[in-house]
């Protein structure tokens, strides 16, 4: 039986999706252990759908696992609904999902991780940080730059960490993140170096910038304790490590920070799906 060009194109597109589903996946390695600490990989700035992220929480969890993350936080702007849903439906499975929020104020962006309810964004940074701490969470300055005028010295001194590594193609911006990290360490020597992807919808992958954490226990509490204690190392997109030099030396020794991804298997299904769709749109039914 003759089928229309559109029908055949749709079959090609669906074949691409099927091929993508059965393509081989990376296996996740166990975190290295050293002196009673496990070194976990985390991403504490990830956006999900519903919100301004494009992926639903369960897709995000699969992607985080595929990228070798042990823990991540869903941090949508000024709401925790999506993060609470993500944490709820991932209980007992890896990676650990933490409830978070990107507290978004015109004068500052602040990541709250380990909270239980939404923190009001319409207040000075200092008070927002206090609210995060009151809920048992940690407060991390998000992509801090010159426009982050809400970060007074009093606020910075209360931060648990700051994004020393955040995706950007602008070298000046990268220097600004580091300058803010140095400023934070002067005001609070235990402030953690954090690397985050700020994943939304575009090809800056989850975990592209990430944080290595030295945790006593592989739980949400263990992760938050590591951040509070500054036992972290931030990895930027170019593979550079930032943080306490002694911790950086351990991560350099114990962890392969280069990309483990072999994207070639994913190229063929994407090309098939794309070409099939292109045909389906343009060819007659």
């Amino acid at each position: 039986m003759m089928r229309s060009p559109r029908f055949l194109s749709i079959v090609v597109a669906i074949a691409g999706i099927v091929a993508g589903t059965i393509a081989p996946r990376l296996s996740h390695e166990s975190p290295p252990q050293i002196d009673g600490y496990s070194i976990l990989a985390g991403d504490f700035h990830v956006h999900a759908f519903p919100g301004d992220g494009s992926l639903a929480p369960w897709s995000l969890r699969d992607e985080a696992a595929r990228r070798g993350l042990d823990v991540f936080a869903v941090t949508n702007h000024n709401q925790t609904f999506t993060a609470r849903f993500a944490a709820d439906q991932s209980k007992g499975t890896a990676p650990i999902v933490l409830i978070g929020e990107e507290i978004t104020n015109p004068d500052y962006h602040l990541i709250a991780v380990g909270i239980t309810r939404t923190v009001d964004a319409n207040q000075p940074a200092e008070r927002a940080i206090a609210d995060v701490h009151a809920q048992g969470g940690v407060a991390i300055a998000a992509h801090p730059g010159p426009e982050s005028i809400g970060y007074t010295d009093a606020a910075v001194a209360q931060l648990d960490g700051t994004e020393a590594a955040h995706p950007t193609s602008d070298r000046r911006e990268r220097d600004e993140f580091m300058a803010f990290y140095e400023r934070t360490r002067r005001l609070n020597p235990h402030a953690a170096a954090i690397g985050s992807s700020d994943f939304h919808a575009m090809p800056v992958p989850v975990g592209s910038c990430r944080t290595f954490l030295f945790v006593r226990e592989r739980t949400a509490a263990g992760v938050l304790d590591a951040i509070r204690s500054g036992l972290t190392v931030a990895l930027d997109e170019e593979g550079r490590l930032h943080g306490d030099p002694s911790l950086v030396a351990i991560v350099e020794r114990e962890i392969v920070t280069g990309s483990r991804e072999d994207a070639s298997w994913d190229r063929v299904p994407v090309a098939l799906a794309w070409a099939g769709l292109f045909g389906a749109l343009l060819l007659r039914s």
Partner: protein, 194 residues
């Protein structure tokens, strides 16, 4: 050889005129096929842009998550269609013809997916600016739809096409403001664009 949708995208007046007289055996089936095609496009494009791969789970989740866009489009379309008492076809057939005009946005989405799948850095501002192309192209198609299918005069067609653009962009920007923390975030993007 070429699809009806492509014919509409290239010469909307003549194609709508032809399709009005050429009623499909089942308008609902034709409409559902078009909606399926748009949803399949979203199902592939969203994961490819986000994670440069596509699986059944990612595609199904993306289709489910973003199907609200089609619901909004349907509501807006029904609003435009019922605004004319002189329309030459029933509401379902009109809706089917309306969704046959999806090529500009579908091609734009496919183009952006190809770009992001092959480049690590695509500026969101670039996406925003390039979206003006399918927006303008769609407005042209909608105006033709109003003239031919709804049988309104040229001024009425232009008003409806403009109203459609205003509603779609207002909903999109409101969604952006709601999900990114406030209108000041949208204004910041506008400043970067300027």
């Amino acid at each position: 050889m070429w699809s009806t949708e492509l014919a509409i995208a290239l010469s909307p007046d003549q194609t709508f005129e032809r399709l009005i007289t050429n009623t499909p055996p089942s308008a609902i089936r034709s409409l559902l096929t078009r909606l399926f095609l748009v949803l399949l496009t979203i199902a592939v494009v969203v994961p490819v842009m986000a994670v440069q791969r596509v699986t059944a789970s990612l595609a199904a989740t993306a289709a489910l998550s973003w199907s609200f866009v089609l619901v909004i489009q349907t509501i807006v379309a029904v609003g435009v269609i019922v605004s004319s008492r002189a329309r030459r076809v029933g509401v379902l057939h009109a809706l089917d013809l309306w969704f046959a005009g999806h090529i500009p946005y579908s091609l734009w989405m496919l183009g952006m997916a190809m770009l992001t799948a092959n480049s690590r850095v695509v500026d969101p501002a670039f996406l925003f600016v390039t979206a003006l192309v399918p927006a303008g192209w769609t407005a042209w198609i909608v105006a033709a739809f109003c003239r031919r299918v709804l049988h309104v005069d040229s001024a009425g067609a232009r008003r409806r096409a403009a109203a459609h653009q205003v509603v779609v962009w207002a909903v999109a920007l409101q969604y952006a403001a709601f999900t990114t923390g406030g209108w000041f975030q949208v204004v910041n993007v506008a400043r970067i664009l300027r």
